[in-house]
Each structure stands twice: as structure tokens, then as C-alpha cells.
Symmetry: C2
Subunit: 191 residues, 2 copies
Amino acid sequence: MARAGVTAERLIEAAADLADEVGLENLTISELARRFGVKDASLYSHIRNAHELRVRVAGLALAELADRAAASLAGRAGKDALVAFAGTYRDYARKHPGRYTAMQTDLDPQSPEASAARRHSDMTRAILRGYALAEPDQTDAVRMLGSVFHGFVSLEMAGGFRHHSRAADESWSRMLDTIDVALRNWPAPRA
Amino acid sequence: MARAGVTAERLIEAAADLADEVGLENLTISELARRFGVKDASLYSHIRNAHELRVRVAGLALAELADRAAASLAGRAGKDALVAFAGTYRDYARKHPGRYTAMQTDLDPQSPEASAARRHSDMTRAILRGYALAEPDQTDAVRMLGSVFHGFVSLEMAGGFRHHSRAADESWSRMLDTIDVALRNWPAPRA
DNA sequence: AGCTTCTGCCTAGGACCTCTAGGAAGCGGA
DNA sequence: TCCGCTTCCTAGAGGTCCTAGGCAGAAGCT
């Protein structure tokens, strides 16, 4: 009997594709096995359980997005870098909703997946080199940027901007203008 | 045989509590029935299916949070209103993670639940009365505020700020300072 | 080539979940 | 008292996750 040739890598990648197609909440071991022409139980030689599958997809997505974000940052600085970086996040989320959702999984800080998450905050810090911010303001700014990007993308994905005629693209671009101004006018503490 | 006295309202409320305890993804019809001392099938006289249950929980949460936000806004204006409003969101999310997560469900714009969502954007607009912003900037600002609040809360819930020693409370408060400044210095288009 | 070992994939089956169909029992009103 | 509405039931189909135990390709050794 010919083997299907399942490996952990091919499994995770197929799982990520499946999640993008049907949504992370509909990513199931059974459907994944079906796609490989294999029984459910067979997948358990490659992954421990359904939760691990999701964590691995999260890791894949974090790494993929970090690579793209790094590429978009090359040769750019200041607002230019900010806009490119943010755009990469938004594009990725729209093209890969399942992967993007998986990224929000609560990861064990010890896990290898969590180190990919660290690349993201490091890159966000790199953007801030274009703005003069010392610690702890820099950490606060990293968190604000993460919040703004993720918040917008996540509300957009959930359909939150569909009620109003104003194009989401316009709001996105004006929001980045505003954030740029805010970073250049970062307020002193105890204002 | 005595009746359990299940009604749609009591059901939704219990479902919301259950979601807060075990997470929205672990909210099941079976467990809910168990809590009422009733068989699964009995619940289907009150709700159509599991998806409707989630949507109803989302509606409950949106309405509850809107009420609290409205109360926090009473008698406040400007930055004071901004901080109080934002704080209400964050508190609610921390006390009611299941309800909060449910709120992100993609709602049918025609549904009664979606009208509760409208209350939220209306209140956000009200906050902006303290800052001079004409359309379409106002809409962009509403979206930015929603993104910032939701993004921060959502990253915090997912454990995104645990890696660094800087307290999330501090970052939150400094972020609101920055947003306040940004709203007062909203940039002109085509900068 | 024959042998062993590894492991990818299998069958079988338990536990739990969603949801439908059809029936019985509580409870209010005529 | 009896009727009808609603609540709750039993029965059962079908899907999901996951474990235990086994067989048969594939890979390596002599």
C-alpha cells in the first residue's frame, strides 16, 4: 500500500492553508486527514493533538510574516518604514485570515514559536529608531504600534468597518499619518 | 416532574458566564444543559443552534458593555472621557474574557445584535466632541480609537505583554496620553 | 539477499459534541 | 375538566478527538 508521505512540515502547511480557506475554528484533524487521503489516527504520529497543530500553525504564520515584514523594512526608515511594515501586516491578514487568527494563540513563552513572536517586537523597535524614544517609552510605543495594527486588522476582518461608507483604506492611511505625528510628539510622563 | 424553568434569557446569561469561565471556544450546548440539569435536546426549544447561542452572547455583551461605557462617560469630557471610556473596555475584557471574545463575532448587520454595536461607535464619536474633528476625519478617528482599545486589550488577553517586565498598566496609560495628543494634533490630509 | 528495526498507516473503539424527530408530561386558560 | 402550548424527554444519526494495538512498507545492517 503506497504511503501518503505525510511529514510534520507538510502537515502544518496544509493545516495553515485549510485554516485560511475555512477559518481557524473549522480546522479539524479529520478534514486534514481527508485531504491527505489518510485516517485521522494516522496524523497522531506527527502531531500530539489538535492544540499542538494550532500552535504549530501559529509558529509558521509568525515566521512567515516576520520574514515578509523584514523584507518590507529593508532600505526604509522613519514614516516610510512604518507604513511599509504596517501594510505588510494588513496584507498578510487579508490573504491569510486563518494563519493570522492562529497567531493570536496564547503561546508558551518557552516554546520555539514564541521566539518568532520576539522577532516581531524587535522589528517594531527597529522602526522606532526613526523616532527618538528612550526606554521605557520605547516599550510603550512598541505596544501601541502592535495594538493599532492588530486592532485595525482584527476589526476589519470581523466586519467592523462595513457599516460605514468611508473606505477602510483611507482610514488606515490617515491613521498611520496620525501615528507618525504621535510618535514624533511623544508626550513627557506625568503630563 | 418539576421543570427546570429554562428561558432564552436565563440561557444566554448562563452561556455568557460559562464562556467567561472556560473560554468561548469551550462553550458547549452539552455543558450548558448540564448546568440546568436538563438534556441537550431540551435547549433547542430556546435556541436554534450553537451558532445562534454565540451570537446572542455577543449581543448581551455588546449591550452590557455599552451600558457601562455610557455610565463612565456621564459628566466627563475631553481626555477625562477618553481615559474613562477606554478603562471601561479594558476592565470589562479582563473580567469577562468569554463575553469579550464573543463580541468579535462577525454579526449580520441586519440583526438586532448589530444595533448594539452601533451604540459603541456612537459613543466613541461622542468622545471626539472634545476634539475638533470634522468628517471624514471623525470616522477615521473613531476607527483608530476602536483599533487601539481593542488591539491592546486583545494582545494583553493573548499574553502578548508578558515577555517584558514593563507593566501593562503603565503602557496603557502612556498610550492614552499619546492618543490624546494625537487627537489634538490630527494631521491635515495629503501631508 | 536476508534480516531486523523503525515508523507510517491501519482498524477498533470510547468519550463527547451537535442536532433532528417524535412523544409525554407540566401548566395555564376556557 | 379538558385542551393546547410549551417544556422536557428518549432515541438515534453523524461528526470530532484521541488511545491502544497491530501490520506492512522503508531503511539500514550483515
